[in-house]
């Protein structure tokens, strides 16, 4: 299983419908400071429900919706993460699985919707599916910017818990 591609629309600095193709190999994302590199990783974390808005440098979820600063009336952001599931690591009997998430601003807050292959589902369904493919919010496959030595700063108990999860 790997991520085949990501589609973003109005997510953080990705205003226009943007497709990012990914391959099952060692890929780097590069570009000038402030160009949107970390926002691409935030898009993955947002869609898979792996992090709270604070980790994505947002006070509230609606801060993730593109804004040019002068009220352009965009009230929704959507990200799709396309997986190659030919090894059936995701317990769904299809070669291609897409997990997507939408956040929509409303008058008194926001709505957040998750989808699996286009069908609405709950956050816990997403969590259930992903945990069986070893993707959980405290698994060690994501390192945010500036956080590379996090594992050294945590307590010895927290470190041991990582091994608990794996065994």
């Amino acid at each position: 299983m790997h991520i085949k591609g990501i589609d973003l629309k109005n997510f953080k600095s990705f205003k226009n419908q943007t497709h990012i193709p990914l391959f099952d190999e060692f890929m780097t994302i590069s570009g000038p400071n402030g160009s949107g590199k970390s926002n691409v990783l935030d898009a993955i974390l947002f869609t898979l429900g792996l992090s709270k808005s604070r980790d994505m440098r947002a006070d509230k979820l609606t801060d993730l919706i593109y804004s040019s600063g002068n009220g352009d009336g965009i009230n929704q952001a959507e990200v799709k993460v396309h997986f190659d599931n030919s090894d059936r690591l995701i317990p769904i009997d299809r070669d291609a699985v897409t997990i997507s998430r939408k956040v929509k601003k409303t008058d008194n807050g926001y709505y957040s919707y998750y989808y699996i292959n286009g069908k609405p589902c709950t956050f816990s369904e997403i969590q259930e599916i992903l945990s069986r493919s070893f993707i959980t919010s405290n698994s060690y496959n994501v390192i945010m910017q500036g956080d590379v030595t996090r594992i050294l700063n945590m307590s010895s108990f927290e470190r041991r818990k990582i091994i608990d999860e794996i065994s």
């Binding site: 953080k12 391959f23 190999e25 060692f26 994302i29 496959n141 050294l152 010895s156 990582i162």
Partner: protein, 160 residues
């Protein structure tokens, strides 16, 4: 439960020793506060960079800390790879030689997992199989500029 835990722990410890040696030429290991009752204690990391005595983790330099943390991550990856890894500027405190060592290791590990690595450092970008460029176009709008397939150097233009 204890048996399963200990066999996982021992396998990851063996990986950690190997990875730390490969990245920094030194000795490293992970230890349990209580092997008898592992769930009552924590997990310690002890490293000895090449030619140095065993160090308290706090006394390590910035680059040494990065290599230690990455060794732990890669030791787990070798035991049970996650499907993908998303790493954001993990090389920022590393000197040129160490960036190259880490990049080579990721290249090897990428045979059993997908690695998506944000980096500004030349040795990391050069070593990757392909690179995605991101730029800020007009007013605060990010676009993807294209994919460089390193070595094959085929520019695949991406339609936004």
């Amino acid at each position: 439960k204890r048996e399963v835990f200990l066999s996982t722990f021992d396998a990851i410890n063996a990986n950690f020793k190997e990875v730390f040696r490969e990245l920094s030429d030194g000795n490293g290991e992970i230890l349990l506060e209580s092997r008898e009752k592992p769930f009552e204690g924590g997990l310690l990391i002890q490293v000895q960079p090449a030619g140095k005595p065993i160090q308290r983790l706090e006394a390590l330099s910035g680059g040494e800390k990065s290599l230690t943390a990455l060794s732990f991550l890669f030791a787990i990856q070798r035991y049970r790879p996650a499907p993908f890894y998303a790493l954001d500027e993990i090389d920022m405190m590393l000197d040129g030689v160490n960036v190259e060592k880490v990049a080579k290791m990721i290249k090897k590990l990428s045979k059993s997992a997908q690695f998506i690595v944000v980096s500004l450092r030349e040795p990391m970008i050069e070593c990757a199989s392909s690179t995605i460029g991101v730029v800020m176009q007009e007013k605060n709008i990010s676009t993807i500029t294209g994919i460089r397939l390193n070595g094959k150097n085929a520019q695949a233009q991406i339609s936004a």
